[in-house]
């Protein structure tokens, strides 16, 4: 029994679009020309043509398509597989003619809605486009401003360079007599110091002689020297008789006068019997580095920790990061030590500190003051030059950005726009960076720094790409795509994270508003919407 599966209430309306191909009661040739079939096999719910063209009104062909007229709205094509599948696809309900699905004709509503949307869009576009013209004008002005500023700075720079050179000469001229006077002063002071040191040494020697001369016979004898183990010369921990004799210059004892020679041999090692303790405590310090030994965490390890950054678990992260920062701070002085041998850092001996260098005489001081003034002037001029350089660089950098065909995006430069969601505050600073900060405390995460325009070929200015943000745990570095749409305001509309660590931000700006006519026509021509 052949089941009557084909009620075929297909209205020829549906074929209207291609009507010329489906001529009633004439054999039908598949649109790909592959074969010709009797007309009763058109729309008979069996696929005869490879291209599906014999079944424009049934689901029989897997590659067929169905035309919805959608009177009141936009006509459209849907895959044949959506005919009579129980789901309303065409707003005119024509796709569900035999499925029992209860579809309502919504074309009129949709048409109206679309009209409203289009109208609203047109309004926005219109106003936005006007704003855009302003932006373009402002950009032009700004550009000119920048350009003239640049020229001004360039002239400025030239002058400053000359000034710097002039002041350098002045400075050098003033510094020569200053240097000479200072050296003279220093030399005098050194001589003075030598005399003082010799006196001190002599006193020390006398003191030592008295200490060593245990039996107070006015001679220092071998045995008396042997009580001072620190004077050991062969590193066996004791001073033998021979050693002591050697120290005494080959004799058994010396008097005060001959002790002078002996003193020269032993004074570096000699430890006073009286002030033993105090010397012990500070002598070793002198040769030791001032800083304690650095924390011995190998730097690689702390780097590894830093990689475990995941915004999912902020509390843990914070702790780790802090720890890591501490370690890094510790690391720097360590490096300094490496570069210079520790002895260089040995602080001056306290004895010498006690006697400070006497002040310069008036004449020298006048020379110094003059040189200092020359130096100050020179440095000031150098600073001014650097400042001008920086300003020029900034302007050049700004000018180098691609702000769109008419520089309409230049107003976004050095601005930031925020959006607060339930959890985070997102910040977009165009041409700079995108970041995210937890609303209730916590550190900022870089979601990407300015990369490129990344829109489609016909208009690359519809998408911005920010890349190389904070790394994701086990994943890529964060990045953000900013989608620009036409709007009267410049606002971040939404943010989302469609894929882990890949953010999407919607941003409205008048700068992308197109000429109203162009918008309307492109929308109407967009059939498959």
């Amino acid at each position: 029994l052949i089941v009557s599966i084909l009620p075929l209430p297909i209205e020829w309306e549906q074929l209207r679009m291609k009507r010329q191909f489906y001529e009633e009661n004439k054999p039908f040739t598949c649109l790909d020309g592959s074969r010709t079939i009797p007309f009763d096999r058109v729309n008979d719910d069996y696929c005869d043509c490879r291209d599906g063209s014999d079944e424009p009104g049934t689901a029989a062909c897997p590659n067929g398509s169905f035309h919805c007229t959608n009177a009141g709205f936009r006509p459209t094509f849907i895959p044949s597989s959506r005919i009579n599948d129980g789901i309303c696809d065409c707003c005119d309900t024509t796709d569900e003619y035999n499925s029992g699905a209860k579809c309502e004709n919504t074309c009129k509503e949709l048409g109206q809605k679309e009209h409203e949307v289009l109208q609203k869009m047109a309004e926005i576009t219109k106003e936005g486009f006007l704003l855009k013209q302003q932006l373009i004008q402002e950009a032009k002005n700004r550009q000119q401003e920048k350009q003239s500023k640049l020229t001004e700075l360039q002239n400025n720079k030239k002058e400053l360079e000359e000034k710097v050179e002039a002041l350098r000469t002045v400075k050098e001229t003033a510094e020569q007599p200053e240097k000479e006077a200072k050296e003279l002063h220093l030399k005098a002071w050194e001589e003075q110091k030598a005399i003082i040191r010799a006196e001190k040494d002599k006193a020390k020697m006398a003191e030592a002689f008295l200490e060593l001369d245990d039996d107070a016979d006015g001679f220092v004898a071998v045995a008396e020297l042997q009580t001072h183990a620190e004077l050991d010369t062969d590193a066996d921990g004791t001073v033998s008789e021979t050693e002591a004799q050697g120290l005494l210059g080959g004799v058994d004892h010396v008097d005060t006068a001959s002790f002078e020679k002996v003193w020269d041999n032993i004074k570096d090692k000699y430890v006073s019997e009286v002030s033993n303790n105090s010397q012990d405590s500070h002598t070793p310090d002198i040769t030791r580095p001032v800083e304690p030994a650095p924390v011995d965490t190998p730097p690689e390890e702390s780097n590894k920790l830093a990689d475990n950054d995941s915004e999912q678990y902020p509390s843990d992260d914070d702790v780790q990061e802090e720890e890591e920062e501490d370690e890094e701070e510790d690391d720097y002085p360590e490096e300094d030590f490496d570069k210079a041998p520790p002895t260089v850092k040995t602080p001056p001996k306290k004895d010498e500190d006690e006697e400070a260098m006497p002040p310069y005489d008036d004449e020298t001081r006048v020379l110094i003051d003059a040189a200092q003034k020359a130096r100050d002037n020179f440095e000031e001029s150098e600073r001014a030059l650097r400042d001008v350089d920086d300003q020029m660089k900034n302007i050049e950098k700004e000018i180098s950005f691609d702000f769109g065909p008419d520089s309409e995006f230049s107003y976004l430069y050095s601005q930031c726009y925020e959006l607060t969601t339930s959890e985070y505050i997102y910040k977009l600073c165009p041409f700079n960076r995108v970041s995210q900060k937890p609303k209730y405390g916590g550190s900022e995460t870089n979601l990407g720094t300015w990369g490129t325009w990344a829109g489609p070929e016909d208009n690359k200015y519809l998408l911005m790409k920010y890349e190389h943000g904070t790394g994701c745990w086990q994943g890529p570095n964060r990045s953000t795509t900013v989608k620009l749409t036409c709007g009267k305001e410049t606002t971040v509309m939404s943010t989302s994270e469609p894929s882990r660590c890949e953010y999407l931000m919607e941003f409205t700006t008048p700068a992308v508003c197109q000429e109203p006519e162009a918008v309307i026509s492109s929308l109407h021509g967009h059939d498959e919407f």
Partner: protein, 909 residues
């Protein structure tokens, strides 16, 4: 709380692959170590023949261990359907030992045994059929099951029967010396306490492990004991660790080792060209299985066989089971054919739950779809790219703080709106509900479980708590039937807020996973009522899925079929839904291993199996992703899934060419849904696997015994997916001498019993239809299976060399139990011979009508007829138009138009 969890996650997730040190080796599991130290030799056990008791249903006999005089009770049953059950327990245990409930679907019906002979050395019992006998040898005790002159199977032939009897602790004994009747064995390490890493197992009951060995003479292929990421054919474990069965959440599991994974089915299947048999070791405790095959040269144990076997040339496989507690309860499935073994096992533990049609469609999953809008976009993506899809899944992030049965108030504020949106598209959703419950006094589910005292307890009686996704969590005691009934009631539409009839459930982490527990699971001394977790560990996951599945049945008043996916499983889990191979990775090796893993599950009853398409961890290359879709389209459970930290990978994100390749693979799946549905109906009825190892259908063809890169769907479709990077071709073995295989894409004919090289491109999915079969397809692929219910069928008739073919077609309402309760289904036999194709009713007492009809018949291997006529049920005859492609020998009948449920005959003249 959080930092701890994070630290833990970091420890886990930071590793490149599995951290083996998290999991025990046999050496580290004290009972396995003790048992394995015992080498084959003379068994100390002796059967006390004078204790023999023979009744209609069973034989009992006492065994004595001559070393310690402890007595065991042996029970022998002859079961209906050619099975023998052997139970061994202590005759008088200090306290009851655990016997696994709820796995057997009934008390297996017994058949009488008769005593054939008896002397002081033993007895011979007749098993009733085929001269099958059991020989009980007394000293040492052993059992041999023989058929005529052939020994099929021997038990304790290597003397490895061990029963660590329950005992009092030595320090307790000292104060009570009057009890010291028998010679006590020395305590060995780990008997009364065991530590692993930072965890200690208090073992208040002391040692309790059991072991028994089985020998299969003449066998060198054994299969089964899933779940392991390893070859289909089981390996020899001499010199390495045994196979381990202990349900564990193994992070980033490694391929090709025998470590335990998420599920355990203690069934091993032996096969040779003569016979297929099975052993079902019904024990839910941690279990290790040693396999040693002596094909290479019989040395140590050969002699022992000789006295019954009389030969030393045959291969032999020895299998030794070791479990930590419980009793020995073994079902010997005597076959003799693979299908007999499947039927025997099914008669014990039930068959695959018959899934609703839509669950056989494509499932789109990701950890996680971010919010309602995301779900909508993905749903629309499938329509936009014209790719069919039946289910969208939500992982743990959809909940309010990992509190299952709830929804994130911001991201999924209006779940019913979302579900309705999917329903409007005839699509469905699966949400995750895991068995760990956040300990939070503001969480109803927790409060109720706590107040009803339904949580698993610690050894000291407090609620057991462990770490899982929500942080500190309790674990409901699913072994408690009252708890399960309560759990099931939580799926009622008025209990599970936001749920609707198109919402189904996914049970993950039900090993159970305890992040801070020993081996990432529960402490063995935790208590489930009076039983230790040690006793019930491997069945916990089954209970979770069972309770959930019952909840879904109940919420519809018993009308609708449930769908529950589980990660952990045990013997019998097939009755409750689908299983997937857990957290795999986006690597070619993982794509390859999905085949033997699912084949192994199919052999032990679990047909509804799949692997995460694309791989869960890591980011697949586009080629791997496409190949995985192609392979997954031909595996029973077809779901794409991805880790939270991987880039998005919906099918349309890789350019139009790759979208088209994926679309085509998914469409092939949907066209074949009638076949899949019928295969699942068959699995439900018979226990035969849907996805089959080749040897199952070609048991006498040794070339098929180790094949694991291709497989059969039912018996008629051979699938050899491309699983190699950059493959230019695959070599498929087409089995069956004298058979013909037709390439399903080109209808090209190939002879059986040959290795066929097939050149492949990126669009190739090598699939062949067996000559002699009829397969039905629905070629009008729509956006979901539900949209295709009434669509017409195309019959693919592949003629055998004899010009015959047969197949089946099964139709019902595709989602309710009415097929079972009301017999509302159509089951027809399609048959072609003598140039006549006919459809006959296989179930005359059933009653169902369908709108579906036969739109086309394609006959492969045909000759050109002069005319074709159709005879309808009422006898009316009409002509059928046809086309004949003589180059390909393919005859296409145009629009027979008969109803798919009707009787009809087509005559070729």
């Amino acid at each position: 709380m959080v930092p701890l969890l994070v630290a833990l996650l970091f420890l886990c997730l930071g590793a490149e692959a599995v951290d083996r040190s998290n999991f025990k080796t046999c050496e580290q599991s004290s009972f396995c170590k003790r048992q394995r130290e015992l080498k084959p030799g003379q068994s100390p056990y002796r059967a006390l023949l004078d204790t023999l008791e023979l009744s209609d249903s069973r034989i009992t006999l006492q065994l004595i261990n001559d070393n310690n005089k402890v007595r065991l009770l042996l029970e022998l049953y002859r079961l209906h359907g050619n099975m023998t059950r052997v139970k061994i327990n202590e005759l008088k245990p200090l306290k009851p030992r655990y016997e696994v409930p709820d796995v057997l679907i009934t008390d297996p019906p017994t058949e009488p045994m008769t005593l054939v002979a008896q002397d002081e050395n033993g007895l011979v019992l007749s098993l009733g059929v085929d001269e099958q006998r059991v020989i009980v040898s007394a000293r040492p005790f052993r059992l041999d099951i023989v058929e005529g002159p052939t020994v099929l199977l021997s038990l304790n032939s290597r003397g490895l029967l061990t029963f660590e009897h329950l005992r009092l602790r030595k320090d307790t004994l000292r104060s009570n010396s009057s009890q010291k009747l028998m010679k006590e064995e020395e305590d060995k390490p780990g008997m009364w306490e065991e530590t692993f890493k930072t965890h200690s197992d208090s073992k208040p009951n002391g040692p309790s492990s059991i072991s028994l060995d089985f020998s299969f003479p003449g066998v060198d292929h054994v299969y089964g004991i899933p779940e392991h990421a390893d070859t289909l054919k089981l390996r020899n474990t001499d010199g390495g660790d045994p196979y381990r069965l202990y349900n564990l959440d193994v992070f980033q599991y490694e391929l090709h080792n025998l470590m335990a994974l998420y599920g355990a089915v203690p069934v091993i299947i032996s096969h040779n060209t003569e016979r297929t048999m099975g052993i079902f070791w019904l024990n839910a405790a941690e279990t290790w299985v040693d396999i040693s095959s002596s094909t290479a040269g019989k040395t140590v144990f050969g002699k022992m066989m000789d006295f019954v076997q009389g030969s030393s040339e045959v291969p032999q496989t020895d299998v030794r089971w070791i479990s930590e507690s419980g009793i020995i309860d073994v079902f010997v499935l005597l076959g003799p054919t693979p299908n007999d073994v499947f039927a025997q096992y099914a008669s014990l533990t039930g068959t695959q739950a018959f899934p609703s049609l839509s669950t056989l469609g494509y499932h789109q999953c990701r950890w996680n779809y971010n919010d309602k809008e995301d779900v909508k976009t993905v749903d629309e993506g499938f329509d936009k790219h014209d790719i069919p899809c039946d289910f969208i899944w939500l992982d743990i992030e959809h909940t309010d703080g990992k509190r299952y049965f709830t929804w994130d108030p911001h991201k999924f504020a209006q779940p019913k709106e979302m579900l309705q949106g999917l329903m409007d598209k005839k699509r469905k959703m699966v949400a995750i509900v895991d068995p760990h419950i956040k300990v939070d006094s503001g969480y109803n589910i927790n409060n109720e479980i706590r107040s009803k005292s339904f949580y698993v307890k610690t050894k000291d009686g407090a609620d057991y708590e462990g770490w899982c996704w929500p942080g500190n969590s309790g674990y409901p005691d699913f072994t408690n039937p009252e708890m399960r009934a309560w759990w099931a009631s939580k799926f009622a539409y008025d209990q599970y807020e936001g749920s609707m009839e198109n919402l189904f459930i996914w049970n993950d982490m039900n090993e159970p996973s305890v992040f801070n527990g020993p081996e990432v699971t529960m402490h063995k001394d935790a208590l489930h009522g009076s039983w230790e977790h040690r006793d019930v560990h491997n069945i916990y996951g089954l209970y979770v899925q069972k309770a959930t599945s019952e909840g879904l049945i109940q919420r519809s008043g018993g009308v609708e079929r449930p769908f529950v996916l589980t990660r952990a499983f045990f013997a019998g889990s097939q009755r409750y839904g689908a299983v997937w191979t857990g957290d795999n990775a986006a690597e070619w090796g993982h794509l390859k291993i999905s085949i033997p893993m699912c084949l192994s599950l199919g052999l032990v009853g679990i047909s509804f199996c799949g692997a995460d398409v694309g791989g869960f961890f890591k980011h697949p290359s586009t080629e791997l992703l496409v190949r995985w879709y192609q392979a997954g389209a031909y595996q029973p459970f077809f779901r794409a899934h991805a880790h939270l930290d991987t880039p998005r990978r919906e099918p349309w994100l890789f350019g139009p060419d790759n979208t088209a390749l994926i679309r085509e693979a998914v469409r092939q799946r949907y066209a074949l849904l009638p076949f899949w549905y019928q295969l699942f109906y068959n699995a439900y009825r018979t226990g035969q696997p849907v996805m089959r190892a080749l040897w199952v259908e070609y048991p006498k063809e040794p070339a098929t015994f180790v094949i694991e890169d291709e497989y059969l769907l039912g018996k008629d479709l051979l699938v050899h997916p491309v699983t190699d990077e950059g493959a230019k071709g695959v070599t498929a073995y087409l089995p069956g001498k004298g058979e013909i295989w037709y390439d399903v894409h080109t209808f090209q004919k190939h002879k059986g019993a040959q290795n066929l090289y097939i050149p492949v491109t990126m669009s190739s999915i090598p699939v062949f239809q067996r000559g002699g079969s009829i397969i039905s397809r629905k070629n009008r692929v729509r956006r979901s299976s539900t949209c295709m219910e009434n669509d017409p069928y195309t019959l693919y008739v592949a003629l055998s060399p004899q010009g015959t073919a047969e197949g089946e077609i099964y139709i019902d309402d595709f989602h309710t139990f009415n097929f079972e309760k009301e017999k509302q289904f159509i089951h027809r036999h399609l048959h072609f011979s003598d140039n006549t194709l006919s459809s006959n009713n296989l179930a005359p007492d059933s009653n169902f009508s369908t709108a579906a009809w036969i739109e086309k018949v394609i006959i492969m291997g045909a000759t050109q007829p002069t005319s074709i006529s159709l005879i309808a049920a009422d006898g009316t005859k009409s002509a059928v138009e046809f086309e004949f492609d003589s180059a390909a020998s393919v005859l296409t009948l145009r629009k027979p138009g008969v109803n798919a449920g009707a009787d009809w005959t087509v005559l070729l003249q």
